[in-house]
Amino acid sequence: MLMNGAKALLESLKAEGVEVAFGYPGGVVLRLYDEIYKMKFPHILTGHEQGAVHAADGYARASGKVGVVFATSGPGAANLITGIATANMDSAPLVCITGQVANPAIGKDSFQEVDVCGITTPITKHNYLVKNVNDIPRVVKEAFFIARTGRQAPVVIDVAADVFSAEIDFNYPEIVKLPGYSGKYPVKAEEVEAVVEAVKAAERPLIFFGGGVVSSDTAKELREITEILGVPTASTLMGLGSIPYDTKGYLGFAGMHGAYGANMAIQNADLLLCVGMRFSDRVTGRVAEFAPKAKIAHFEIDLAEVNKNVAADLKVLGDLKESLPLFLDKLKKAGVDFKAKFTPWRDDAVKKGEEHPLGFADSGDNITPEDIIEKVEEILGENTIAVTDVGQHQMWAAQFYKVREPRGFLTSGGLGTMGFGLPAAIGAKLARPDKNVVLFTGDGSIMMNCQEFVTAAENNIDVKVIIFHNSLLGMVGQWQRLFYEHHYSASELSYKRDFVKIAEAMGVKGARLETKQDLNKLEGLLNEKGAMVIDVIIPKEADVLPMVPGGKRLDEMVLRNNN
């Protein structure tokens, strides 16, 4: 069928099952936007390209589908960079389509020209510059295949402006032919068997799981393995929800601000079953003394992650979707009562954690972060996706929010991008309208993409936004208190930001909670229909604890009240 490149692009997206795209128009993508108009292609206009890419990311993380973004050339594409890097670090699948200046103008420093492929090479799994209209169907097909298979990640397609108008006889390919990429990650049975043997020989095994379990949708298998083994479990920030918070032996998330019990168990275990995680510096503490007593068995799809930061004694390469069922099967057939063997160690690990539980001291009339997070969780219940921005509130949410399911806690873990939260929450709600979506953010983070309140209002997107308002860039302030002699250099937000008015100015309802008694209003506010901003005043100088200071071992935690 004959059509122009713009229509061919949209038809290709439809063929990939794309239900909505996030974007922002501009000069070189006018032809594309004209076809969006004519085809009534579902599109959400955000207030900023960064909002669009984070929204697509939130959509992808909440649904497991590929998020799609449109942006124009030059500044439009450049504004996507933070969002692409965010998605890349956390392995979220995106296809970002940017306009490029027309073929004859490329390389001439033309108006709104930027080298998109050059800039995005280190932060994407792959990228394309499309200069010929006939490449569109193949490139889109490949881009989706690459983004959603293997270790998921963003792919960028940069399209020269004249390609949108050029004519093509459209046929969508059925298969992908990439000589260097099969998208298949088979598992070797002998590698799994070696881990089963290690489990048999172990006294104190611990399952340590990460975001790979979430993106491969293998929480079910992981839960069964946990059940059979009767071992304690710990999560990374990205793995939250894969094991429900109330599972026996679940110790919480580990790392810099992880739970005492989780960090201690890692340091005491003699076998770590590391599943779909990448040993980020935030998780390992001083890497040379991470899990010093343990053999490390690494279940991982990405070969380059094995031995990158922490040397693995055993590896199981390949898709968790294949390796975990195989591991489960072999454990069942091992003829060992693992549960009887390991539950005493599991119970010890839990008991150890109870020596220093998370939690705040009573703060009188002030609302503590713990109060608000627990209350919100209690009101909204299980059918909820919690989203965070970055900073103290993020760590508090990770510590106190009771995450029950994978894709139930969305956060920028690897890149730590302030401003991720609001657009990601919008994307998550669009992906899962059946879920409540609540954003925990701070008075610093929310300002970084607060223009997206309009997006929520305009599209009737029901997200509840809880702002932890301490008039300070809390995490920066915490480090300044601890390591820089309390010098609040450029971290105080002393000029009053009236978030209720900001929300109202952009068509979103707002309310403020200042004292513990105000928490009674929370249920009414959260049950209202439509987007809502709840500005919660919290004490200025609360710390996120425990904390493993930089360069320290995981068991060298600063604990609350030094107890």
Partner: protein, 166 residues
């Protein structure tokens, strides 16, 4: 530090060199030389990379990170397989009539060629291993070297099995 020669087969598409060089800089790998050229298959380009690493583990990282690139079909560490390595260098040396005869002798010993002569200089072409090229440049340092151009190492496996089948 040890240097290894990697033979990297890639799709012959625009952007592939950006992807390879971008990866090298992003991961802070040490590269001694990199060269690329056409192969017996018009769809495939061969990139030769000499990489310096502190450990085997670092070498594995380079190979697995490269292997992840979509454009890359195959990465083979030629230094670990029976292989032949060659590099080509062209050296321009200032030489008047007086020094010429001497230079011809040196070049002959190294089985090089003199490919250009003017009244003021000669251009010498030498092919060989890195060690041989280092040796002749050391000898020529006694003369006045004007400029040097080196290709970096390229290599082939010995025997009938090509890199693409390894």
């Amino acid at each position: 530090m040890r240097t290894y020669l990697l033979a990297v087969l890639v799709n012959n598409t625009p952007g592939v060199l950006t992807h390879v060089s971008g990866l090298i800089s992003r991961r802070a790998f040490n590269i001694e030389s990199i060269s690329a050229g056409y192969t017996e298959d018009e769809n495939v380009t061969r990139i030769n990379i000499e990489v310096s690493v502190e450990s085997e583990n670092e070498l594995d990282q380079v190979v697995s990170q490269l292997s992840k690139l979509i454009d890359i079909i195959k990465v083979v560490n030629l230094s670990k397989a029976p292989s032949i390595e060659r590099e080509l260098v062209m050296i321009k040396v200032r030489a008047t009539k007086k020094e010429r005869a001497d230079l011809v002798n040196v070049v002959n010993v190294f089985r090089g060629n003199i490919v250009d002569i003017t009244s003021e200089n000669v251009v010498i072409e030498i092919t060989g291993t890195k060690r041989k090229i280092d040796a002749i440049t050391e000898v020529l340092a006694e003369y006045d070297i004007v400029e040097i151009a080196r290709t970096g190492a390229i290599g082939l496996s010995r025997g009938p099995v090509p890199v693409k089948a390894m």
